[in-house]
Each structure stands twice: as C-alpha cells, then as structure tokens.
Amino acid sequence: MIRGRSLSPSWILLGGAVLLGLLDRPLGLGLVDPMRGVLVFALLGLGLNVVTGFTGLLHLGMAAFMAIGAYAFAIGTCDIYPFQLGFWPAMVLTVVVGAVAGFLLGAPTLGLRGDYLAIVTLGFGEIVQDVMKNMDAITKGTQGINPLPPPVLPGVGELGSEEGPWYWLFLGLLVLAVMACRNLERSRTGRAWLAVREDELAASCMGIAPIPAKMYAFATGAALAAMAGGLWASLYASTGEPGNYDFQVSILALCIVIVGGMGSIDGVLVGSLAMIGVANIALPKLAAWLQARGVVDPSNVLGSPNNWKYLVFGVVLMVMMRVRPEGLLPARLGRVGGGR
C-alpha cells in the first residue's frame, strides 16, 4: 500500500464493522445477527468482482460455486459422512474444491466471447443445482446435508448460538479475502486481468495469454464463492436445499458488484451492505413493524414487505443504471501507487 496514507473506503467500512461488533450488544442494536449474511455475501461479491469486475467476464452462475462450496464443506464436516474434518481443514478443502471446479468449467469455455460465456455460466448454475438435487445418495437431495457441527476455534471453543464469535470469524475471513483481492489487483496477475477486460486483443498483443489469465480469474472467483458457500452452510448448520443456490442468488451477487461499482473492492463491501441490508435487515424489520401495528393484512399479497423484495431490487438496479452506472464507489486509479 505504497499509495498510502489516505484511508481507502474498504478499511473505513471494515473498521465500521469492527465498531458495530463491539457496540452491538451495549447499545442493543441486534444488528450482528443479520450482518453475518452481509459478510457472507460480501465474500461472494468479492469472488464475482474478480471475474466480472476485474476480468470483464459476465458470470451468471456464481451461486453454483457457492453451492459447490457449501456441499464440499458439509460433506467434509458432517458426521453422517466418514470424513469429519475440523472447521479449518474443511474450509481449505472447500476453497480448493471451488477453485478446481472453476478451473474445470473455465477450461473448455473461456474461449467463448461475452454473451456466450454468460449463458454457459448460467447453464452451469442450473446444472449444479440439478446435480445436487438428483444425486441424493451423496447430497441428500432436497433435504440438504445437516446438521453440520459448529466450528471450533482455538481459544474460543465451539461456536454456539451466540452471534458474536460468528461475526468476528466471518469478519476476519472477509478481511483476509479483501487483502487477497487487493494484493492480486495490484500485481502482475491483476494487471493482466484488467488489461483483458479493457481490450482483450491489445492485451494479447502485449504478451498476455488471455485464456490462462481468465482461467486464474475464474478459479479465484470460484474459490471465494465456495468459501462464502462453506461459511453459509456452517452458519445455518445445513446446506439447505439445492434450490437455495439458484439464479436469484447469482443475480444478487451481480447486483452487489454493480451497485457497488464494477471492479471496486470498496464497492463490493458497500454493495453487499446495501443489497443484503435491504433484503435481510430493512425489509424484515419493516414487516415486523407494520404487522405489530396491524397496518397491513398479511394474507394479502401486497401486505407482506417480503413480496416487494424483487420489485425493490429491480427498481434499484434500473435507477442505478440510469443515475449512477459506475456504482456507488467506483474503482479508483492508482492501484500501482502511481500517486506516490
């Protein structure tokens, strides 16, 4: 971080998250619980940001890698299987499986151009759901794999129903992921990605082999998404049903990246706060508030704020694209410390 003393929004946001973790209980905010979802989706968004934001490959099947991660983690830890790894070995396994899956999908398909690649990733997302659903001898089909044992952390012990330790664990992993993404972005690897995004032919004339570069981006993104999936499964002690990792989740990840600002790590953090914050925090709270007052009739379809979720998402996306297409916190120059 040669560039320097100026504090980037990422660190401000992560600092804010630390502060929230510290103050949540004394102030009785009750935000730590839903914030865990924000952190997991920020990880997923970071993964997609590597693929779509840095490398410019439209990816519509990120949820598939999340599912692969969740299932790898679950199979690795759950005691209905013989493997029964600890939390950390299973996490490593999850990340490796995710990267390999990304690699295997990317190898034959990364020669395709833009929209064709998008549909292939979309198809992959559907296939993975089907596989998880149909191979029930291994994946337990629609009931999902559960219960997963809680993570055991050195010095803390078993993570139970208390939210605090979970929050710190997720936040710590997110900080690591942010650092990894920044390191990559400001290196030879990341420059190759950005160059391929800006102009693939020119990049190739500069000696960058585009397909291997894209392959690394794909695998990195998949590994981060798998990590998000593993954490998600661990949080709910279950993979949930395969349908949970559907196209909507992939699109949610895309929204996070785009609302935040394509190719901007700061943006991913803001984007996940905005999108998941609205979906998981604001809407449920609004619903509870309205119902407590008896304002709305929950049997009417219009009465439940949850039914408005996609309308809100859709309108947010459309308005964003009209008003601020570069996102809330667009990527900034000076990745290599040009500012000095």
Binding site: N183, T189, A209, G334, V336
Partner: protein, 345 residues
C-alpha cells in the same frame, strides 16, 4: 547480415476478398523499414498477419530465421496427456460416482463409528471391475480421446497467437489507439512488461519477497520508459485522459516495455500536429539507436522519408515497389499509384 524479419509471399484472403497477395520483403536488423500505400492497400492486414492476429492464408513470416509458433515438445505432451487423463478420470467418475460412493462410503461407514480408510478404498476396485468395460473403461476412453483431442486441436489453433509472437520479441502499436483506458499510464507500461516479469499467482497473492523485488525493478524500468517518451509526469493519470498525441507516445512506451527486438508502428503520426510529427520522427530515430528494429506504416511522407532506410509500397494488396527513399521517390509506378509529385517537396 541475416534479416530480422522476412515476409515471404504472404497472401491474406477473407472469403473472396484478397487483402494481400504474394507480399514479400525483408527487414535487416537496425533498420527503420516503412510500408506505405494508399488507404485500403492492405498494410494493417499485413501487420496483423505478422503479429499473429490473423494467420496468413499462404506464405510465411519468419522472425530471426524461423516462423514463430509454439514448439512441439514436452509442454505440449504434458498438456495433451494431462487433459486426457483428467477427462478420462472425470468421465469415468461421472458415470460411476453413485455406485462407488455406495460401495466405498455408505457400505463401510456406520454412524458414529470409526472409518477404515484402507478397507473402504479397496472396495472401489471390485465395483469398477463389476461395472465392466462398458461402464468403467468406455467412458474413460471416450473422455481421454475427447479431452486429449480437444486440447491438441486448441493448441494447434492457438499456435501462433499474438501473445506468442509478442513473447518472441515483436511488439506493436495500433492504428486506432488501443490503450487500456481505465488503467493508469504507468500500469499500461507495466502491462506491456507482462511477459518479461516472472512473479506468479501465489507470489502475488501472498506478497512473497520476490513480489516486492520485482515490483521495484519493474516500476523503475517503466518510469525510465515513460521518461524516454516524455510522459513521466503523467504516470498516475488514467490513460484515456491523455491528449491524443500523448496516447500515441504511451502506446510506443507500452510496446517498448517488453524489450522487443522488432517494433511495429501502425501509423504513429496519424492525428498528430506538425510539431508532434517532428518530435515523433526524433523518437523513432532514438528507438533505432536503442537497437530496436522498426517496421513502420505511415501516411505522413515527411516522417517516412525522414526516418526510413528502406520502403515497401503496397497498392491493392500487392507490392508495387521496394527500395531506398530515393529510389521510391523516383519510381514512376509509385508516383502514379500513390505519391503525387507535389507531396515530395
């Protein structure tokens, strides 16, 4: 002296359109060699054929005595074999995974009891044998053939891609500037250096010591190149914010960053004002003094006549003349086809 670049009877055809026909010339090391011709004469197409963007329909381009392309060797063998093995295992697994899982895991694991790995894994063999050739070996064979075949075909198709050519020592600029607009000026030069840098994915991810050493060296060299083209003070700016003339210079710096032995400049003076043009002529001379051979496409006769050692004239895709600037100046075919007397001044 052996030529650094030999264009040998290159023909480029697109469907029925013949963009280059039987074009030949040779560039000696240390020369500035210009290719000129009216618009649509096939100059840029020729550049694309040289740099691997297109493959010549006929003829070949030799660089330092040989055609640049990926060599048949252990890397290829490893790649084809590796893909074949991986896809063989993957296809066989895809067919047998459920029965394997049942035999190895489900049959040997009772809830809460220890799992005997050795015994469990030994159950895999019988399952595969029992499934027989049709279900075990046939998918593996098909997978190996398809995977290995695809890997080989893709390798064959990508034997002479632009990145292969660039790494062999030919760098280029573009007629319609193709900088990485959202990247800073410095980053653009660093991208040009890509093939000369070594740090891999893990080193960059974990910031191992080698990363810092190389970052330091590469940045110094990039700044030196920016100084050479006079862009030092603009290093942190976004490339797309540079004025047009400076963008052309940045393209040259970016191309030089890979330490090429041959530099291809595609109309470097297009859109430049007279002052900038004069400065560019000086820059091309300096590039030659650095020991880089230059192949130039240009419309500005002043630039061409001022710096070139030899000139090749194309018209309608064919070579109509070749020689020193003086010879070209007096060649009647050229004058008729392209130059026009008053332009020679």
């Amino acid at each position: 002296m052996a030529p650094i670049l030999e264009v040998d009877r290159v023909t480029m055809r697109f469907g029925g359109l013949v963009a280059n026909e039987d074009v030949s010339f040779r560039v000696e090391p240390g020369q500035v060699y210009a290719v000129i011709g009216p618009n649509g004469a096939g100059k840029t197409t020729l550049f694309n054929a040289i740099t691997g963007v297109y493959q010549p329909s006929a003829g070949e381009v030799r660089f330092e005595g040989s055609v640049i392309r990926k060599r048949v060797g252990p890397r290829l063998a490893l790649r084809v074999l590796g893909t074949a093995v991986v896809s063989a295992i993957a296809s066989s697994l895809a067919v047998n995974i459920l029965s394997l899982w049942k035999a190895v895991v489900v049959a040997n694991y009772a809830y809460g009891e220890p799992f005997a790995w050795g015994k469990a894994l030994s159950c895999a063999g019988p399952v595969l044998r029992e499934a027989g050739a049709a279900w075990t070996w046939l998918p593996a064979l098909i997978g190996a053939l398809v995977g290995g075949g695809a890997a080989f075909v893709l390798w064959l198709r990508r034997r002479r891609t632009p990145d292969v050519v660039q790494r062999a020592g030919i760098a280029r600029t573009f007629q319609n500037i193709r900088l990485f607009g959202e990247l800073s000026v410095l980053e653009n030069v660093l991208v040009g250096m890509h093939a000369r840098l070594r740090t891999g994915f893990l080193e960059n991810l974990l910031r191992l010591p080698s990363f810092f050493g190389e970052r330091h060296r590469s940045r110094d060299r990039a700044m030196e190149l920016l100084r050479f083209v006079g862009l030092e003070s603009r290093a942190p700016d976004a490339a797309r914010n540079l004025p047009y003339g400076l963008q052309r210079r940045l393209e040259i710096a970016r191309a030089l960053a890979s330490s090429p032995r041959l530099l291809l400049l595609d109309e470097p003076a297009a859109g430049m004002n007279p002052t900038e043009t004069v400065a560019l002529t000086g820059l091309i001379r300096q590039i030659r003094e650095r020991g880089v051979t230059v192949l130039l496409i240009e419309h500005h006769m002043r630039v061409v006549m001022g710096v070139s050692d030899r000139i090749c004239v194309l018209n309608f895709g064919k070579r109509i003349a070749e020689g020193t600037p003086e010879q070209i100046r007096s060649d009647p075919a050229c004058i008729e086809a392209y130059l026009g007397k008053e332009e020679l001044g």
